[in-house]
């Protein structure tokens, strides 16, 4: 029996969801047409239950008796004056509410409900045509990748047909190259011809065709996403062959620096460094760009969910303690009629991504404390979503070992058809057709499933119930088991894998990327204890096979062998491809900007620049206080009114040790010069942690390269340049890379037109701080205190936000002199440790003037700045006012000082310059070298401008 229940707000109670939708509809341009919106929650129950049971379920579970009403026989509202849109999930997409609802109904003593589905109905009132409604529904109310609209009342539960085994082989032997290419394309394998030929040859030797499952396993293992073919392959650049770009740049820094506190780097799911005598910490940052482009909420949620499983799957498992997130979006004001075909609007992507990270991260109980957001028109079809996670583990739990004879145990969520082909799909370009073709690659997360699994895993770890684990990420079981068994071999019985619903083929079970699953290697003697422990916390743990020292990957379904290949071929059989790379610097028109008497409007304009403006709207939606360890928060100063540089977290509450996180990213410099872009973002990440009091000699960094299609030589050339900068700059700074990830093919094509993202490198920095009580925030503290600029300003406005605001790109990007930078940063750290610095803020986008303004309004105090006190070095010309204020030269800080003599003494040998002082009122004034007043405003006006872009989202 099927029951349909509608729940809505009683008269007189505020319908927050309906109001939110109404606001979005107004944003779409229907201000004059829309009158009201009501949201109705719909539940569909299937089971042998009486009407009394249904009434009981409604009154005691589904409604809030104070604010809501229900109807189990017809509509809860009279729908006469409304147009109605009802949205529900597509078959096969997980409905996160189903599991909890079933449990709760069971708790009521009603045991015969088999299935629960949900839907949401929107009642829209206004002078809107059906075309308007259709457009609103598509743009705001549902995403066809995971949802569909249903005719109200017509909805029935769809039954998935059961699966009957039949082995499927792919005819490869004796086929032509043309056919091989077609097999790759039709199967969404994203394998190139040479790779297809290698596979063909391998099976020729075996004397048979591959099964679909074998081909899928190889495609996924060899995907760019898993294998990093570009970074690890051969590259021909400027007449030389680079053998392995990763090993010859990024990893080389770490090897040469050989820091004793680097415990495990570039090996496990996350890089591990020492924290204190008893604990290590690990850090991983991933991207989830393509899923977020198609389904922002699910894509970003599973992005953070996936990266949390990385520290959980590092060593023997770490406890997740901090999340980070960095986003790059298209312009929020992009006109709808100029959107590339089938691309979602940047504003919708932004709102969905933020909500996805929020709902997953918050439910996991992990503070999201550090991040950044950048905007550029070229991210329109292909946003970037970087998610990071830090974990902490006892130091004797930092390594894993898979033993022959161990059981393969899958724990956590069940396997469904969600997320098929994610690994291969993220290795290709997005096109306007991707939405239809690869909808199944998008996943919806269930954070509570992951939370339960994490809680139980840590208990199992501490009871030594398993000897190795890894997460099911891209490639699902195929990837997890394949990696764990690389040195041995494995045998898996696919019919044993617990499924969400019937009807999955054996190959789908194997490659499904259903979320919230991990794979453990368990001594058979400990298996019963392990399963019991998981059961106690309502988490499934199931033996699905065995690790064996056979060198083979063997898969069975109901006793039939469906895959039998050599581990060696799987992991090392891919052909070495030489890719060509070229690099030619682009020349942009050089702007001529003359003397301006008044730069107030320029500064105010910059404060409201999207890349500089306040991200409070996002930050506050994340719980950054949970776990109680937050020492320096993302928003700092009076009532959290200013942007902090780095965050500090104390993972052990009664210890003074802290974890410091910062990040560097710039989406403008890379258009001009990827080398100096990479150098600049490393410098920025280090500046951030130095600003709060951390020491770069205790810092490590992570790289995340997001590039266009690197099969195109110019894109690959710029990747080579950026990688070389990573080596050069990190080596001199003495900061090792401990982990990284690349996401190539970030392009969006419609027909022959392709939009490539600007080359973007995110550098995430993690440092251990011995004494958090020495931390410094960025907000101005006390009137009368001196303001210093630490570091040299050059004419380096190329790629700056100032030029961008004026409509230029320019050419002279900021450079980095790391030898000098290292001395400067170490000296400043010394002064901060001596408590000679009251506040410190790093100069980045918008230059010194923006940093000063942020420092001033964060502290609620005005400033007077006199450029005339600047003594240029002999080599330097006197710089123009706009260069002094807005140039984004690296390795610079603005610093507030009370004890000026001791500060200047402590900073001996480093260029510092007293630029002004903190006022006792709210005025913000800048005088040039001839004492002319060039900026005359107040901190309120600057703050209002800074808060304006994202205030009313």
């Amino acid at each position: 029996m099927l029951w349909r229940i509608e729940v809505g707000e009683k008269n007189g109670f505020y319908d927050a969801i309906g109001q939110g939708v109404k606001k979005d509809i107004i944003d779409l341009g229907f201000k004059d047409k829309i009158k009201s919106v009501h949201a109705v929650q719909v539940y569909i129950l299937e089971g042998d239950i009486s009407e009394n049971d249904v009434v009981n379920i409604c009154e005691n579970l589904l409604i809030d008796p104070i604010t809501q009403k229900y109807d189990h026989k017809s509509n809860v509202f009279d729908e006469k004056k409304y147009k109605v849109v009802e949205v529900t999930y597509n078959p096969g997409v997980m409905d996160p509410v189903e599991e909890s609802a079933k449990k709760a109904i069971y708790d009521l003593g009603i045991k015969k409900v088999r299935r629960v589905k949900t839907a949401r109905k929107y009642l829209i009132e206004g002078k809107l045509s059906y075309r308007d409604i259709h457009s609103i529904a598509e743009k705001i109310l549902y995403n066809k990748v995971i949802q569909h609209t249903v005719k109200p009342g017509s909805q029935v539960l769809q039954n998935v047909p059961p699966y009957k085994f039949s082995l499927r082989q792919v005819k490869m032997l004796g086929t032509t190259d043309v056919k091989l290419k077609k097999i790759s394309k039709d199967g969404q394998l994203f394998l190139n011809l040479e790779e297809m030929r290698s596979i063909k040859n391998y099976f020729k030797k075996l004397g048979r065709n591959p099964t679909d499952c074998e081909l899928e396993t190889i495609a996924q293992t060899w995907s760019e996403h898993c294998k990093h073919k570009t970074f690890r392959g051969l590259i021909e650049f400027e007449g030389k062959i680079i053998k392995n770009l990763l090993k010859s740049t990024i990893m080389k820094v770490t090897k040469e620096l050989n820091k004793p506190w680097c415990i495990s780097v570039f090996k496990d799911n996350a890089g591990i460094i020492r924290f204190d005598e008893k604990n290590n910490i690990c850090f991983k940052v991933e991207t989830h760009n393509h899923p977020s482009a198609l389904e922002p909420y699910g894509g970003a949620g599973t992005g953070i969910g996936g990266v949390i499983r990385d520290p959980m799957g590092t060593g023997l498992g770490a406890k997740p303690i901090i999340n980070t997130d960095v986003f790059c979006f298209g312009l929020p004001e992009q006109p709808y009629n100029k959107l590339p075909k089938n691309a979602l609007h940047p504003k919708r992507i932004m709102k969905g991504v933020v909500a996805g990270v929020r709902d997953y991260g918050n439910r996991m109980g992990i503070p999201t404390s550090n991040g950044a957001v950048c905007f550029d028109e070229n991210f329109v079809g292909n946003p970037l979503v970087f998610c990071g996670n830090v974990g902490i583990m006892p130091k004797n739990k930092s390594f894993k070992k898979v033993n022959s004879g161990d059981f393969i145990v899958v724990v956590g969520g069940r396997t469904g058809r969600d997320g098929i082909h994610g690994a291969t799909f993220s290795s290709g370009e997005l096109t306007h057709e991707t939405h239809e073709e690869l909808g199944s690659a998008v996943q919806i997360g269930n954070p509570i499933q992951e939370k339960k699994m994490a809680d139980t895993l840590l208990q199992a770890r501490d009871k030594n119930l398993y000897s190795a684990l890894t997460d099911c990420g891209a490639g699902g079981l195929s990837s997890a088991v394949g990696e764990m068994a690389e040195e041995l071999g494995a045998e898996v019985h696919l019919e044993k894998v617990p499924l969400k619903y019937k009807g999955l083929r054996y190959d789908e079970i194997w490659i499904s990327e259903a979320q919230e699953r991990m794979v453990l290697s368990v001594d058979p003697k400990k298996t019963d204890d392990l399963i019991e422990l998981f059961e106690r916390e309502n988490v499934e743990a199931t033996v699905i096979g065995k690790f064996l020292d056979s060198g083979k990957l063997k898969l069975f379904y109901e006793g039939n062998i469906v895959c039998n290949i050599d581990m060696k071929f799987l992991h090392n059989g891919d052909p070495e491809v030489t890719r060509k790379a070229v690099w030619k610097k682009l020349k942009f028109p050089e702007p001529k900007i003359g003397f301006s008497k008044d730069l107030t409007a320029d500064l105010t304009g910059l404060m409201a620049n999207l890349n500089i403006a306040s991200k409070e709207w996002i930050i506050r939606q994340y719980d950054h206080e949970v776990q109680g360890g937050s020492v320096l928060k993302p928003l700092q100063g009076v009532n959290g009114g200013g942007p902090g540089d780095a965050c500090i977290t104390r993972p052990i509450m009664n210890s003074k040790k802290g974890v410091v996180l910062g990040c560097g990213i710039n989406t403008d410099y890379g258009k001009i010069d990827p080398y100096w872009m990479a150098a600049s973002v490393i410098d920025e990440a280090l500046r951030q942690i130095v600003s709060v009091g951390a020491d770069i000699s205790k810092a490590a960094i992570l790289d995340n390269f997001c590039w266009g299609n690197t099969n195109k030589p110019d894109r690959l050339g710029s990747l080579v340049m950026a990688s070389q900068a990573c080596y050069d700059i990190a080596k001199i700074y003495g900061v090792p890379f401990i982990s990284g990830k690349d996401s190539l093919n970030n392009e969006y094509s419609v027909g022959k037109k392709t939009i490539s993202i600007p080359p973007t490198l995110l550098i995430s920095c993690i440092a251990v701080m011995d004494d958090i009580t020495r931390a410094v925030s960025m907000d101005a503290k006390k009137c009368g205190n001196g303001i210093y600029l630490v570091g040299l300003t050059q004419d380096e406005l190329g790629g700056s936000q100032y030029y961008k605001m004026k409509g230029y790109v320019g050419n002279n990007t900021p450079k980095v002199d790391a030898k000098y930078g290292k001395i400067l940063m170490k000296t400043l750290t010394g002064a901060i440790n001596k408590k000679l610095v009251r506040s410190c803020h790093d100069c980045s986008e918008g230059g010194m003037a923006v940093a000063l303004a942020e420092m001033a309004f964060a502290g609620g105090l005005g400033m007077s700045i006199h450029l005339g006190s600047y003594q240029p070095t002999k080599k330097q010309m006197l710089l123009k006012n706009h260069i002094m204020l807005f140039s984004e030269s690296n390795t610079r800080f603005v610093v507030e000082v009370e004890d000026e003599n001791n500060f200047e003494h402590a900073m001996t040998g480093v260029p510092i310059w007293k630029v002004g002082y903190i006022r006792n009122d709210k005025a913000f004034k800048i005088f040039d070298h001839e004492e002319r007043l060039i900026v005359d405003t107040t901190i309120e006006a600057l703050k209002t401008a800074w808060q304006s872009p994202f205030k009313n989202l």
Binding site: L61, D64, S100, G365, P447, L632, G640, S839
Partner: protein, 270 residues
């Protein structure tokens, strides 16, 4: 003897460890116990003097925040909880824990039947989750009778705690319930501005009726609040600690709540 605190957790609980830490700092012994262990009878709440339901998103807050665990308490634990309360013991629900106590009918429990639902905590007016520091104080005397909540004894003036929730808007069932809360001194804390005056958003972060942030029952021993006292037990958690260099030995605003609970429980122990 140290008072014993049971901190209940289940799928989605996420402030259990810091809540237990705060109770230990205040001088109690603590134990984290999964609801399954209670329902199955492996653990017995009568062994403890304080029951704490910490923050989080139990069962994902699916259907409505706190609803599913509230029902587990209502349908599986009702007798034991009623006895626990009648024995003169203490309960605190923080954030999700507050939602659970209200939706289980344990707060404000004006009817005295431990069952009738007399209020709710629902979606913030802003329709989104928000993390921000708020100012709180006991209600002014002319607004409401002096609070009988034992957990906030000695707290004078304005205190600061963080809130982090999407469903914290307190709504009493009707005017009768609201009047009763005021008349009986059951409103423990209300959202105010820096100077201690009632004010609108964002000082009242969720649109709660009469700025209500926390309430207690008639005994004063059962207390629920949306803000997180466990996130402000030392000054390094305060967002402005780098501005005002207070003596690090001073306990921060949230600590007093745990100390009050533990001190009261000591009397029951003896």
């Amino acid at each position: 003897m140290k008072p014993r605190v049971i901190v209940i957790r289940t799928a989605g609980t996420n402030c259990d460890k810091e809540t237990a830490f705060a109770f230990r700092a205040a001088g109690a012994d603590t134990e984290l116990v999964h609801i399954n262990e209670l329902v199955r009878g492996e653990k017995d709440i009568s062994h403890y003097q304080i029951l704490a339901i910490p923050g989080g998103f139990t069962y994902g807050d699916d259907i409505a925040s706190g609803k599913i665990l509230a029902n587990e308490l209502r349908y599986n634990m009702w007798d034991r909880l009623q006895k626990f309360i009648k024995d003169g013991k203490l309960i605190i629900g923080i954030c999700n824990g507050f939602q659970i106590l209200v939706k289980a009918g344990l707060l404000p429990n004006l009817s005295g039947d431990f069952k009738t639902i007399e209020a709710t905590l629902t979606l913030n007016d802003s329709n989104k989750f928000e993390d921000r520091w708020v100012y709180l104080k006991r209600p002014a005397k002319k607004m409401s009778a002096n609070s009988r909540c034992v957990w906030i004894r000695g707290i004078e003036g304005v205190i600061q705690l963080p809130v982090a929730h999407g469903e914290g808007k307190f709504i009493p069932r009707d005017k009768k319930v609201l009047d009763c809360l005021k008349r009986n001194g059951l409103i423990a804390l209300e959202y105010v501005d820096e100077s201690g005056k009632r004010s609108g958003y964002p000082h009242n972060p969720n649109g709660s009726t009469e700025n209500i942030a926390g309430i207690c029952d008639n005994t004063g021993r059962i207390f629920g609040l949306m803000p997180h006292p466990e996130r402000h037990i030392n000054i390094y958690q305060n967002p402005a600690w780098t501005r005002n260099c207070k003596d690090p030995g001073v306990k921060a605003d949230g600590f007093a709540i745990f100390a009050n609970g533990v001190n009261f429980a000591k009397k029951i122990c003896n």
